[in-house]
Symmetry: C2
């Protein structure tokens, strides 16, 4: 598989003249993610995060490779991300120079905006959204709750299980989530009732942005899957567990999931992530080999990522009492049974056409240990074991006013860590 | 529920000066569906079907209500269908006059194209596509095959079951379908194999076009659902039964369905269908009442449609031998447990935002009798009972070269019947 290479833009020695970029948890000059932002009262445009600032790419258009300019015209990344890798790499190299070489500072600095004063928007025009289920420990944990005798179904280790989600409900970090209403049926009841969800949950996932698509009726061989991946984001697949339990058979989750999905607004590019690629964790002894269409030696050796993911909760009482957010879990993104390349290849293996701007969720990423589970239904063991908050409150599921925030850091020996920015939202009462 | 009314545009006495419109099976002057077409070598535009012709609406723009003109600018119906009903009704009335009053013939006739010489395209820019499962006899029939002991799950009579489908795979009638490849596992095998689908099937459905959407976090009360329905089309939810059986648990169908979906290209409007509304068939004794959010007296009295649906098969040998298409099934669209208004209201009941141009499939519409089943898996009883073709060939599932075509007619006493146009596609070998 043809993957982006590690080059001088990744050097830990590289320093930006933007003061806040030095040692920035998410956006040092080694990251250079792309997004769409709007300065107060102005129209949206494409930008790059650097420290606590956002660089307006159009405003420095004269300094960029000329082939990039037509790709910046619309306030969406679809065209830019679908460009050949050579174009995207040239842009990355140029941005790295512009933001690290003091000589460029006079021309570039006026195009910087304070990130706290701009509005971030969805980075891509999303055609279709698909959610996978590749977090094997989550699949096992939640499978036990829904099907105690049969947690991991026989297809799981052969098929990267996925299903279609709702593109129109995806919102960028910061947009509040309205508690959904829906049908639920108590275990001891004959008939369902309709009302506000009583078991509202989050799911910790990575999102995968599609760069270039494939035509309907064609496939994406796994050796080429890397060319179709623009980059990653954080994704919160908000889930109404009571609605889900009642509606999901036989066709899968529907209203339990499609009321809202939150993503972090920056596309952390495949190029930026090159130094953080690691081998796919070996399959446990006795597990089947992937079928040939999902097998690729380069993917096996470098298809996973050294990214640590965390989930943070802040209740309304915690905010009022100025408590810091409580970390609910922490775990590595390598807890995935299938790689993102295998997800892409499987998705197109029947001729399904993907498009630039399509979004794939990995499914919830959980670990096996305590403190590494990516949803409350796992942490609370189906609502039986409450989590204690520093205020003395407890939670099995989310209450109105709770805020969930995800963070993530990619690390590698000798490399400057890079992060993903914020993926957070607060729960509002059912309207 | 506020439904379109029956008026003079529906009169059976109305006759068009377009000769082929008189007694036309699909497009008499009482229908006036909207679509997007391209004359040979020209750019796409919005049109209306009349007999064997298509009227270019932009070309007669000077004769139309002026408020309509801005809605015709793009080659998609999204803006026109999202317009207030008063605007759409005014357009319908004007088109009815222009195409029936001889005085307008000299101005209008030059804007007619021979339907055989234009290319039809997708009528709407489709944001999200959702497939429901409201054909109760299909749900029972197919439930028996997948879950013999448990065909209709406990939620079926409470929840209009639906799931998200793939918007990017929807194509207009006439576009060939490539046989998908995928994973399947034989009943007696331990491991799956990957290859061309061996149980390729169609599913007979109606498609429901959303006119005006709702904002994320808001709902569509059932009394208002009618305002959000632009019209109907025919929809073939092509299905790979072997892939489906292996992949569908626990999250529902994915690659078994998303390789291709065929729709008829004309939006038969809610206004055109006003005379063909009928009462929802009464629920069998003992069935639960719908929960209050799905209950509406006007919908119960007029939420179904008197539409007869047919499925036709033509094999390659049949085409070579000039046999007429074989009718595989015929049945009424009233074989739906939930109305299209209930589908829309349920979909938005959790705050999920619908958008103009979203498409909802009803799910397969089957009857209880022989000859009324909407898929081959039902007709062949899971592949055990072959269908005999006039050439002496037999089919349990579709072979390469087979063409499936749907047709439909809405009828009511004293009314001119109207139809939907063609929804057909031929199966091409796996690439």
């Amino acid at each position: 598989m043809n993957l982006p290479s590690v080059d001088k833009t990744h050097s830990a020695d590289l320093a930006s003249w933007v003061p806040s970029a030095l040692g920035h948890a998410d956006f040092p000059v080694q990251n250079l993610p792309f997004g769409v932002f709007a300065p107060a009262g102005e129209r949206p445009r494409i930008g790059t995060a650097i420290g606590d600032c956002v660089l307006d790419l159009c405003a420095v258009g004269a300094l960029l490779p000329p082939e990039v300019l037509p790709l910046l015209e619309l306030p969406e990344l679809n065209a830019l991300m679908a460009a050949p890798r050579v174009v995207k790499t040239a842009l990355r190299h140029r941005l790295s120079e512009l933001l690290s070489d003091d000589a460029h500072r006079p021309m570039v600095e006026p195009a910087l905006h304070d990130a706290a004063c701009v509005e971030m928007l969805l980075p891509m025009r999303i055609g279709d959204y698909t959610d996978f289920y590749v977090g094997i420990h989550h699949a096992t944990n939640i499978g036990k709750l829904f099907r105690p005798d049969n947690p991991l179904l026989p297809n799981y280790k052969h098929v990267p299980i996925g299903y279609h989600g709702r593109a129109s409900s995806i919102r960028q970090s910061g947009v509040p989530v309205a508690r959904p209403r829906g049908q639920r049926r108590a275990n001891d009841a004959d008939v369902p009732v309709f009302g506000p969800c009583t078991r509202l949950d989050y799911e910790l996932e990575l999102g995968v942005w599609i760069s270039e698509g494939n035509a309907l009726g064609t496939t994406i061989p796994i050796a080429e899957a890397g060319e179709h991946i623009a980059g990653l984001c954080l994704l919160n697949d908000w889930s109404a567990r009571d609605i889900q339990a009642w509606e999901y058979q036989p066709l899968g989750p529907f209203l339990a999931k499609n009321f809202h999905t939150t993503i972090s607004p920056w596309v952390v590019t495949a190029e930026a992530l090159a130094p953080f690629r690691i081998a796919q964790p070996p399959r446990p002894l006795g597990d089947p080999d992937p079928l040939p269409y999902l097998r690729d030696e380069a993917d096996r050796m470098a298809g996973a990522f050294a990214i640590e993911l965390s989930v943070w909760l802040t209740s309304e009482q915690m905010r009022a009492g100025r408590y810091p957010p409580l970390r609910l879990s922490r775990g590595p993104a390598s807890n995935m049974y299938w790689t993102i390349a295998q997800m892409v290849t499987h998705h197109a293996s029947n001729g399904c056409g993907l498009n630039s701007g399509d979004l794939l969720g990995t499914g919830t990423i959980s670990g096996t240990e305590q403190g590494s589970k990516g949803s409350l239904i796992e942490i609370s063991e189906g609502g039986r074991v409450p989590v204690e908050l520093p205020t003395g409150e407890t939670r099995t599921f989310l209450l109105d006013g709770d805020e969930i925030s995800f963070s993530a850091t990619a690390t590698a020996p000798g490399r400057a860590p890079i992060g993903f920015g914020e993926c957070r939202a607060v729960i509002r009462p059912a309207p």
